[in-house]
Amino acid sequence: MSKCPYHDPFAEKRTKGPILETEFDGDPVAMILGLKDVRKAARDWKTFSSDAPFRVPIPREENLRSVRQFPIESDPPEHTEYRKIVEPAFNRPNEPEYQARMTGLIQEMISETTSCQSVEAVSEFALPLQSRALTYLLGVPESEAQTWIKWGVHVLRDGDGPTKGKEMEHYCKEAFKRSSRWEENNFFSLLNEATFRGRLLTDDEKLGFANLAFAGGRDTVINTVCLILAHFAHHPDDLERLRKEPELVNCAGEEFVRFATPLTHIGRKCPADTEVHGAKVKADQLISLCWASANFDDTVFDKPTEIRLDRKPNPHVAFGNGAHTCLGAPHARLIIRTLLTQLTELVSSITFLSGQPKIEKTVDYERVNSFESLQLRLNLK
């Protein structure tokens, strides 16, 4: 059993049935819990629609942003066409030059960290890593990351704190204007030039794409990076094993993503009255695809609360499933795999000093989702 402060709050609920009938924002939400059911529902966009502005994330986000996010808050066939606009940019991590840049970045960041007595891994390592790496994905100068880092771990809201999405939206509006000065085919200039069904994208559509690019891959990457560091601090044997068996890096990367499942769940709207595994869902109400429960489903994963670097197969849904599978997954996978490799090459051990878990509290469950703060020391080889 991992010593990391993780648990599966849905284990007992899964034994009672395939659905957890709960509520968010005062509205009923039927959470689908089992892996097979979640995968099936994720692919059934006609019954479980994403054509629900501000309601695909749970809790809903009307108060956090001014625009519908694209392509995630749309259904095929529109979704397919919207997604194609940005897909080439999000596949850049498959290019060797991009991978070499990521290696250089992570080498530099680990080296800087190891020269310090200790590092607060959330704000001093994972957040800058995520932001600097995102400049590669978006094709903008690395100096832009300094602005993004100031936004903090959550770009829209810190926990139950005040909303702060306006600053990011303002930045994006300006970025669309400044983008002609940046490298060719950067994310913002691509959107300026992109067409949808024969017309240019509207300002709101462009902002909706940018909004998702900043909000979607932020705390998710940060949470996973921190989980990896904490795990190696508690399990030096796993760091040693990965050092001896580097061929396990891809496998281990998938396992860390499964175990972290940084996005607990996602919403879908039922366009019509629907019965979901016995739960009656009225038209316009939400169901949730609970990735965090599905990834610990012990009918699929043997001893799911253990991190097994060589788990195979590993059909996790931490990046979602179906048409809406995470666009940023190639980028996130590259960060994780590169981090794993560089830790084995540069770091002899990691010392855990202190950590404050980040807890998601809802009406029916509490889930530990990585760390609010994590004090570590990375010991150089």
Binding site: K36, N250, C251, P313, P315, F319
Partner: protein
């Protein structure tokens, strides 16, 4: 049919095993300089519909292909891990394989696989 040939040596080409990917749109792409597994060959040559997101560790099933019936015996059945993952794919059938689990060999020279819809 599109024939993609990165080799400049005819003798080398003649000696390499060839594989044809039939994409969802019906495009037939023959690769004749492939080494490694089918997913890697497809990715190196930008075959539509083969993503191989997890890097070949039986996690994502984004390299799903269907083997032409006449090749099934030589290609062989899925291993246990692969079969477990395929069973979670709604669209898998008895010809389904994950291309990351098929190593290209001389015995498979001329292989034809259909790229399954994602």
């Amino acid at each position: 049919m599109f024939v993609r040939n990165k080799s400049t040596l005819n003798e080398r080409i003649e000696n390499m095993a060839k594989v044809t990917f039939v994409t969802e749109s019906g495009e037939e792409i023959m690769e004749n300089d492939g080494t490694g597994n089918l997913m890697e060959i497809a990715r190196q040559n930008d075959v539509d519909g083969i993503i191989g997101a997890c890097g070949g560790v039986c996690s994502c099933a984004t390299c799903h292909v269907r083997v032409k019936p006449e090749w099934m015996e030589r290609v062989g059945r899925p291993g246990e891990d692969e079969q477990d993952l395929l069973e979670l794919e709604g669209r898998a059938d008895e010809r389904s394989r994950l291309s990351c689990q098929i190593e290209m060999t001389d015995e498979l020279d001329g292989l034809v696989v259909e790229v399954a819809p994602l």
